[in-house]
Subunit: 133 residues, 2 copies
Amino acid sequence: MFSVPTRTQYGIRALVHLAMSEARSSTSAEIAKAQSISPKYLEGILGQLKNSGLVLSERGAHGGYRLAREPEAIRMLEVVEALEGEVKPVGCLEDSVHCDFDVGCLPRRFWSGLKETIDEYFASKTLKDVIET
Amino acid sequence: MFSVPTRTQYGIRALVHLAMSEARSSTSAEIAKAQSISPKYLEGILGQLKNSGLVLSERGAHGGYRLAREPEAIRMLEVVEALEGEVKPVGCLEDSVHCDFDVGCLPRRFWSGLKETIDEYFASKTLKDVIET
DNA sequence: GTTATTCCTATCGGAATGCTAGGAATATAG
DNA sequence: CTATATTCCTAGCATTCCGATAGGAATAAC
Ligand code: FES
Ligand code: FES
């Protein structure tokens, strides 16, 4: 249960790779090979990270990707939200949407607490924490 | 992200229903109607909860389901594991399985910490906590 | 033996996931 | 200016998973 999509796992591995080779920029193909990730698939993932402002890119020969900020300034919550959207255990956590449970929705608070717990974990970790064993 | 399958949501709603009507036993159809859950689908879910020893059942006329223990003795971790299996964010958390990341696997600890965080949340809540607002 | 119920197994449509393909845009090198 | 290296964009596809449904067998009460 709660399995993390490969998209997110790969995205994080890619960021780890970039963090380890800071300064110089790495190409998508290089990262894919080093991390055993399907090259074309990774291209799309890096695109997402770029659109979210987590990495910078340069096109053309000698192009590639590098981190937009230092690892300690990249919160993992940002990363997972960039890759898979907000953590939302159950759909009914949106405002004003309520299930039709007649006696009022008891599980709601339970799920809401779960979301907070997960969000806090992700928010408390930075990319630097991830690469430092 | 991290959306909880309806299977688990329904299972918990069913347990809540049973907890609210303790002592007397409720039929699957009755719970399904009260909770707006597909009746046949719920049958299977209750079967799982029964096989995990969380609810007791009686067959035949006047049969039905009831909690196997009091709500305060039912940890939510047991419930979610009964319904969806162990919380396992990434497959590589199993012992001795290691990804082929060449410089050693840095994200591993990150995922492991996530699993612990989620498990602790579920383990800290009982069914009684869920029904008490 | 009739009725109410749990229990078992099989199946199915639709959505999501993980991945692949092809090529356009863009930058560098020579 | 051309060849090359790279990001970027869009479409499509195979497989798996999810949520749900169907039919009926077993069992217990009355
Ligand atoms: S509002 Fe989510 S189960 Fe009720
Ligand atoms: S052991 Fe899981 S990503 Fe490496």
